[in-house]
Every structure is written in C-alpha cells, then in structure tokens.
C-alpha cells in the first residue's frame, strides 16, 4: 500500500454515498512496541475535503490566524472539511489502475465525523 493510494481517494459512507475525497493524511510518530528507542510514523487519520477540487489551500494541517485575509480564505476553504481518524476507516480499495482513484469506506456518516476546524484546535494545544 502506498500513500498515493489514499491521497485523492474517494471517500464513501457506509451506504456507499460519496462524501468527498482525501485531501491530506496526518501522520504521528509513535514508539515501536518492544523497542526502546525506535519510532515509526503511523497514519493518524485523513482530512476529508467535501469540495470536489480542494486541497484546502494547503492549510489542512493547522489553523491559520494571520494575516486576516489568508485566515479568512483558509477558514472558508476548510469550513466543511471533516477529520476521519483512522479507526473510522472501515475499508480501503486501492486504485484499479494507474491514474485512477482509490476508495476509502467509512464506518459512519460524514456528519458524524468532527469538523476539521474543531480538531485543529486540539492539534495546536
């Protein structure tokens, strides 16, 4: 499996309805079980953009507070974006061919996922 199989993938709810696409993937360093010093980079979750052609102005990973015009645009772009922690991913289908998109199936409706703007605040604490 590759990161490219996830980024850009269609995101569907349990009923098969398309709710958006994967705009970004957040990764966190964690200790490798049984090894004192080693860490590994684990997929923490997916940023789901509901607009068809959105990369959320590349501010998926943090809130923008200044300058004000940029903060306004970033907030507007990410207003409806959702955060899908990896445990909400029920399944993943890789692209059928090079150049096509994979599919990520969620275990809940998009409305039950937190808004990206809300989890941003936790990420920055």
């Amino acid at each position: 499996m590759r990161l490219a199989d996830l980024i850009g993938a269609r995101v569907v709810d349990p009923a098969g309805r398309e709710v958006g696409h994967v705009s970004d993937v957040r990764l966190v360093e964690e200790r490798v079980p049984g090894e004192d010093a080693a860490t590994r980079l684990r997929v923490d979750g997916l940023v789901v953009a509901v607009r068809r052609r959105s990369r959320l102005l590349a501010y998926d990973h943090r809130p923008v507070r200044a300058p004000l015009p940029l903060a306004f645009l970033a907030r507007r772009a990410a207003a409806r974006a959702r955060w899908a922690p990896w445990h909400t991913v029920a399944g993943h289908l890789p692209p059928a061919a090079v150049g096509e998109r994979g599919t990520v199936r969620l275990d809940r409706a998009a409305a039950d996922l937190p808004l990206l703007g809300d989890v941003h605040e936790r990420w920055t604490r």
Partner: protein, 146 residues
Amino acid sequence: MNPQEDTGARDGGASNRRPGRAYSAHFHLLDRQVVDREGRPVCKVDDLELAHDEHGRPYVTALLAGPAALAPRLGGLSARWLAAVQRRMSVGGGGGPARIDFGRVTGIGPVLTVDLPEGAAGVHALEDWMRDEIVARLPGAGRASG
C-alpha cells in the same frame, strides 16, 4: 502546526524523530528534498510505502522516489503516460520505484535526512544509466566539468 512540529521545521533535519510529533503528508513529507548525512541531495520524496501494524493501522515503511513512485500521484492521462515511459526506460531493479527504508530517516524538517551506507542508495538508476551509456560516449565527455 503544533509547537513540536514548529521546532522540527527549524532544526534543519538533525535527528528529531520523537514520539508525539505530527506531520501533514502534503506539507511536511511529499516532494521534500532528501539529503544524506553530509547534506548531499539524494532524491525527493515522491511517495511513501505503507504497511499495517498489529492493529491494522498503516505506518510508513519506506520513502519512494522516481517516476514509478510519482506516476500514481498525478492522476489521469499524465499518470498513465509517465508510468508507460518509466516502464519503457526502466533499467535494473525491475522497474519499481527507488526505495529508502524509513528506519534510515533521522530527521524530518525542511529536508529529510537519511543515514545511507556509502554507495548503497541505488536511487538514481536511470540517471546512472544515462551517464554511463549515453553521456560518457559523447565526444569530449571525458573533459566535461563536474
């Protein structure tokens, strides 16, 4: 960006892999320059290889570089075209992307620092082939600078 990430972005790629640090794939990893421990450019991050842990959660096992890694990210006709060209021109190694074990990544910052054994990168197979088989045979190649 949390404070830990901010620190990592300024420290120039020193060994900074610590539990709890978080990264955006787009912003912190993809397309970043990869350098060796002497700061020499190695490649750029075109994709990441993932595996699943004991709980089914994906984690990064390798950096992938080269056209074979980049093509799936492009999408549509561009992806198919690049993949076809890459297959046609692949040399050695079976045509897959160049791969650097993620355990060799010692720093994630403005650049990704990797600790590679001398001469073991194997990242630039096509570039090496072009140098040896094409450029080296051009008249005057032996007097070329650099």
